[in-house]
Each structure stands twice: as structure tokens, then as C-alpha cells.
Amino acid sequence: MELLIKNGAVVDPVNGNKGDKTDISIKDGKIVKTVSSKATIIDAGGRLVMAGGVDAHSHIAGAKVNVGRMMRPEDSRSGISPRTKITRPCTGYTVPNVYAMGYRYAQMGYTTVFEAAQAIMKARHTHEELEEIPIIDKGALTLFGSNWPTMDFVREKDMDKLAAYVSWGLLASRGFGVKCVNPGGGEMWGFGKNVTGIDDVVPGFDVTPKEIIVSLMKVNEMLGLPHSVHLHCNNLGNPGNYKTTLASMELANQVKASKKRQVMHVTHLLFNSWGGTNWGDFESKADEVANFLNNHKNVTGDMGQMIFGSATTMTADGPKQYANAKLLHAKWSNGDVELEDASGVVPIYYVKQISVHAIMWAIGLELALLTKDPYQMLLTTDHPNGGPFVNYSEVIALLMSNKKRQEEIKTVHEAVHAKNKLPGLDRELDFSEIAIMTRAGTAKVLGLLDTKGHLGVGADADISIYDIKPDQIDPTVEHAKIKSAFSSAAYTIKGGNVVVKDGQITATPLGRTYWVDAKVPQQHHDEMMKDIVKKFKNYYSMQLANYMVQDEYLTHQQVVKAGIIPAEVN
């Protein structure tokens, strides 16, 4: 099938297009140079055209998400819409049902979303949900930070075995990359404790979070994985944690990237850029974190922007969630994934007039405005921890308009004036920078820039058209129009199919699931498996034979090949 998008104001930073009228030709799901005269024509009429949105960090599928649904029936009551001829019924706001995940992302013009954390043992559940999420392409990052085999191999300093374990873990979970959450903390939570910094020793394993992070980065680059290590820092959510964050980011200098991308992606930095020593003197250190990023090109981050209102915090950071539940007197769910991880789910309501919440809200925006290179600070809300992803348009409007920010600042707790730099920041992002934070940058950080995040020839025909004419709008003033346009795409095209028109779903093809097949030398694999077999025999409650996610769970898989890089290339 051929498609031609005419008269679009194309914003495509990768190919240097800043809103010029360019036609885009599509054939068989890819962007091509030209199409025949038989092509169906979409007249963009001077409206904004961008590549389909790419989200590098969102909790859309898996055990935690489902626990959130189960413990929040009140959330399911919001966002209810009945089935139509095309779509299935939707429920929920912070923890929508699987169908709503796909529809709502597509309605915003997003076409690719990565689930940010799956434990290997729970991966089957993740893929069962991914299989049911319509339209979007997706994948899941696999947790390795507190796994017993990881810590064993780190202690033994056996990088070959660790690489073999990561390679096998990605296969077992059909995962796309290495996620590392509060390394060591998940294990210590099993004993009711937590690590307080990157130099604490994890009892029983005799390793430190620092060693875990560096080792995982090393093997990530040994394997040449498309994405870098994706780190959720230790000490998250504690005042004064920016020091831990800076010390963790500093570790990136110890490893060289195997690809043209960062070696470490530090996620939801909003929750990691905190100064002060308690909730009383709590303050923003976003400037310090942004300053670090400005001087270190080998690290990237994402905002994890907070949205006022209802949110559901869910993370593999079990100990943090216990602390949250105690602090908030909220519902709490705790998960233990045997040898691999802990997890927790706690609902939260962010209130404008609570000083800590107001300061947090401002931190996210500061991170985006103070980080000079938008390729280093991606737009996320750490859905649904900071807030549901449907609010991305609100974040975009805030970043593009100082006027909107000043209006908002008037409505939030006055603490932002003393504890944040935000009131004095007048940077206003343009469409190109927004395209980088939501498309080009996210695709680059994930290592998918060849086919995602841009509109050059050869890219996937994932395109969004928004109902704004960039040459006729001043986003700094008309922020309401920006918000409304980005919340509901005029067109979303996924793989060459029109899936959304005027904000309504028109088709629901099933997207692909990305995972990485990273090969290691057979003897490394065999050596590593001896340990794994022992672990299963002695500790796991399930059989090794039942552990691997089979092909049946991935009806539309997209395998990305990687593996130990041959010496001559190195």
C-alpha cells in the first residue's frame, strides 16, 4: 500500500528539517523516496508533521501494572469508555487496561513504547499483556540489578559469565535491554533493609551497588546491546539523594560505549535530584544534575515529570515503596520475585499546595530546561509514577511556554520560589527540541534511531500529524492550543496504516515486540548455565524448563541481533 503525505510542516531534527513543507512517501510500511501516482494522498495542509512518538520509559505491562489495577478498583472507574465497532472497552486513568494503553498512546501520536521493568521470572505476564496492547510497537527492559547470579558473577569479577547471564536473561524474558533498579537494594529488602549509597556492601554477596552498575555497563557494551544500561539510582525518593545520583553517573566514565550512544541512561531523574536532609529543608538540585549532564555526553536521562492529581507509584524498588506507604498512610502492595527482585505499588495523589509536591513538579521541568542538549533529557512521566502518560501534552506545553509555567507557579505552593530555580528560567523549547525529547532522542537512547524517531528514507512509516500550523502559532503564548493538539493527533500513522484520525481510533493493527538476541561464545554460556541450574535446583520455586518465555508469547516479534563483538572490530 502506498501513501503520500503532502504539504506537511515537517519537524524532523535527525534529517535537519525544521518545519519546511516536505512531502513524505510511504510504501509497505516504510518511508521511501517516491511513490507512484496511485498512492493515497493525505493533505496535511501546513500542519505539524513529526515521526511517531517513542517512549523509552513507561510502565505499561506486567506484574506490577496488574497489581496496580487490582489494588486500585477506584482507578478503573475513571476513564471508562464502552467498546465501539473498532475499539474494545477502556478503563482506568493511572493504570488503564491493556487496550486503553495502546489506544491512548496512539491518540497522542505515539507509536513505540518500552515497558521499563520486567523481572525475568514475571516476563511471561509482561508478554501476555504486550500481546494484547493494540497498535503500538513495544518491548520490555529486563531487570538485572539485584539478581543473585548477577551479584555472584560481579563478586567473582567474571564478566564473561555475567555477559552470558545477561544474554540468556534477555532470551529468557524476551527483553530489550538491561534495567538496573536500586542495585543491591532489592536483595536487601528481603531482610527488611535497603542500601543507602553506592558503596554499601550487600550482605551475603559481598558486592556494592557501584560494582554492580559498572559490571552491568561493561557487559552491556561487551554484548553491544542497542540500548545502554538503564539505571534507577539507589536512594531514590530520599532528600539529599542527588549526591548518590551524581556519584552513580560518574561511573559512566569507567566504561566506553560500543555504539554511538550513551553508556548509561539514568531514568526518572525528577526523583533523584533532591537536596536537603529531610522533608523540611527539601530542595531542588536539578541544576547540579543538569550541569553534570551538560559536561558529560556519555550519560542521558529522562524527566519522570510529575503531574498533579492521581498517580500510582510502581517500581522494583521494594524498600522505597514500603517507606512511601508508611509516609502516605496509603495502600501498599509488596512483591518478592524470589532470586531476582522486590517490588511495590502505592497509590499517591500529588497536590499543588503540598510544598514537597510543588518542588518535585518544578524539579522535572528544571531538568528539561537546564539540560542544554535535549538528546540528553527525554520527556517521560515515568508513567504512572509521576503521572499518567496521557498528560505528555501538558508537559510539552509547559516546556514550550514560560507564560504557562508562570501561570502554573502562581497556583502551586510558594516553596517553589525559595527551593527551585524554575520561576527564573525563561528558556522555551521549540518544536525541534520537543521532537528530540519525544522521538529522535528517545529512539537514539534506545538504539533504534535507524528505523524510529525520524522521517528519513528507510525509517518505519510511523508518523503523527498535529492540528497546529507551526508558522502560524506562537507556542509561547498559545499554549492551550499546543496542549490540545498534542493530546489528540489529527493523524497517527503506524507502519503505513492510518490508525488515528482527528483523535479517533480508525484501525487497530497489532504492533511488534522488540527483543534482543545477544549471542555469547558457547563455552561462556555453558559455564554460566552450570550455576543457573544449581540456583534452580536449590532455590527457585519453579523449574528451569518452565522459566523461558516461548515464541508463542510473541506473535509479532522483532528480533534485534547483538552479541560479543569480535576482537578485530573492537
Binding site: M71, P73, E74, D75, R77, H329, A330, K331, P347
Partner: protein, 252 residues
């Protein structure tokens, strides 16, 4: 002034979703317009006109609208849901969720109400001359705040979990209540005229006054001594001490 009278045309055996029966929705509408309003019966989409005979006299804003429900409404749920003003008079019994989420106006019931009456109510008044079933003025599943404001008066008895997760407002039950009134309370006031059992566990704020007999006390309250409230001497308790709660429980 607008008066709308509804009467079931025949016996209703399958429950009807009556969220469109409210002064806000009926006000200013003609008989024909009210006839056309949707009312789901089980899984069948039907209209108010098909189920009820409708008589409209006059026209007016919601605050000046009176709805009279005559006959058997015991299988009609969600009457007056989200209502902000006006008056509903019910001569018989009604099904679940009466006045749920209402923020203003008044609903008066001569008969009995089923569970979840006044659920998550924000304001207005609910007067029940008969009995109430479970979860009167409570929060629905998962909700951390039940009733937030307004007043519910029950002349008869109520069953279990009166005012669960209540955050504000007032509930008065003249008769007895079932177990655990004021469970997980976070504000508001519950006054029970008759007997109850295990009031107020997991309470963090709010007040419960029991004028009858408490069959069983939860062992999570601390006796603070006697106190006179409105001229009556009660034993005053605070709790739930396990959650460091600041709830007040007065027992005669």
C-alpha cells in the same frame, strides 16, 4: 417550579440504572425529552419513557425541580447520582447507590434503601425513613474517601460498614447498625441511636457517638475518661492506637 412524577409502568424485575433520574437532568425538560433519556435495564438499553409513566408540571432550574417517584422503585439503582440541587421524594423502597456522589439538594425516602446509599456524597441531604442496608455513606471499592460532606439521616436501622472511609459530613442512624461502623474513618461524624458492634477500627480521624449498647469493642481504643457531649455523659476513647489514629469514639 417544576414537578416531575415517575411511576413504573409494570413490575421491574431486572435492575435498572437510574442515574438519569436527577433534578439536574430533568430540570427544564419536557415529558417527551424525559421519555427519551437512557435507562439501561440489565444489558438492554432502554429509555425512561419505556419503563415509567412521566408527568411534568411547570418548568424550572434544578434547584426548583421536584421529582416524585411513586410505586415500586426497589430495582432502580443510582437515583440522584451526582445531583447538585433540587428535591427527590420517593414513596417506596429503592435499590443501591441512592444519591451517590451527590453534592447538593435533598432526597427523601419513605421506605428502605439498599446498599451504598450516599456513597462518596459531597453535600446535600439524604433522609431515609425506613432502613438502610450495607455501606451507608461509604466509599466504593478501593476508594480512600467515602462520604465527604452533607448529611444522611436514617430513622430505622442500618447494616454493616456505615460510613466506611468517611472523610467528612454527618451520618445519623436512629436505630441500630451492624458491625464496624466508621471503619477506616478519616473525618466526619457518625451518631448511632441504638446498638452496634466493633465501631471505628482503623480510624485515623473523625467522631463516632454510640447512644445504645456496644456489643463488642475493638481492642485498639484507649479510654480517656468521661466527657459530656450535648448534655450526655459518655466514655471517651481515642484510636485506632495501632495506626496512631486521632479518632474519637464516645460510648454511653
Amino acid at each position: 417550579m417544576q414537578t416531575v412524577t415517575l411511576k413504573p409502568k409494570k413490575e421491574i424485575k431486572i435492575s435498572v440504572e437510574g442515574e438519569n433520574i436527577s433534578a439536574d437532568i430533568f430540570s427544564g425538560k419536557t415529558e417527551k425529552e424525559i421519555h427519551a433519556l437512557v435507562a439501561w435495564m440489565g444489558n438492554q438499553k432502554t429509555t425512561i419513557g419505556e419503563l415509567f409513566s412521566v408527568k411534568v408540571e411547570g418548568s424550572g432550574p434544578a434547584a426548583d425541580t421536584k421529582i416524585i417517584l411513586e410505586g415500586d422503585f426497589s430495582r432502580v439503582k443510582r437515583i440522584g447520582e451526582g445531583m447538585t440541587a433540587g428535591l427527590i421524594l420517593i414513596t417506596g423502597n429503592v435499590d443501591m447507590h441512592l444519591g451517590a456522589k451527590m453534592s447538593g439538594g435533598k432526597i427523601s425516602v419513605k421506605g428502605n434503601v439498599d446498599s451504598w446509599a450516599g456513597r462518596e456524597m459531597k453535600g446535600g441531604e439524604l433522609i431515609i425513613e425506613g432502613n438502610a442496608a450495607y455501606y451507608l455513606g461509604a466509599g466504593y471499592r478501593g476508594e480512600s474517601c467515602g462520604m465527604r460532606g452533607g448529611k444522611i439521616t436514617v430513622m430505622g436501622n442500618a447494616l454493616d460498614f456505615v460510613g466506611e472511609h468517611m472523610c467528612g459530613g454527618e451520618i445519623i442512624v436512629k436505630g441500630n447498625t451492624g458491625i464496624l461502623p466508621g471503619l477506616s474513618n478519616n473525618g466526619g461524624k457518625i451518631v448511632i441511636g441504638g446498638n452496634t458492634s466493633r465501631p471505628g477500627s482503623e480510624m485515623s480521624k473523625g467522631t463516632i457517638i454510640v447512644n445504645g449498647k456496644v456489643e463488642e469493642m475493638m481492642p485498639v481504643f484507649k479510654l480517656e475518661g468521661d466527657e459530656i457531649v450535648d448534655g450526655v455523659t459518655y466514655k471517651k476513647y481515642t484510636g485506632d492506637v495501632i495506626g496512631n489514629g486521632k479518632g474519637l469514639l464516645y460510648v454511653k
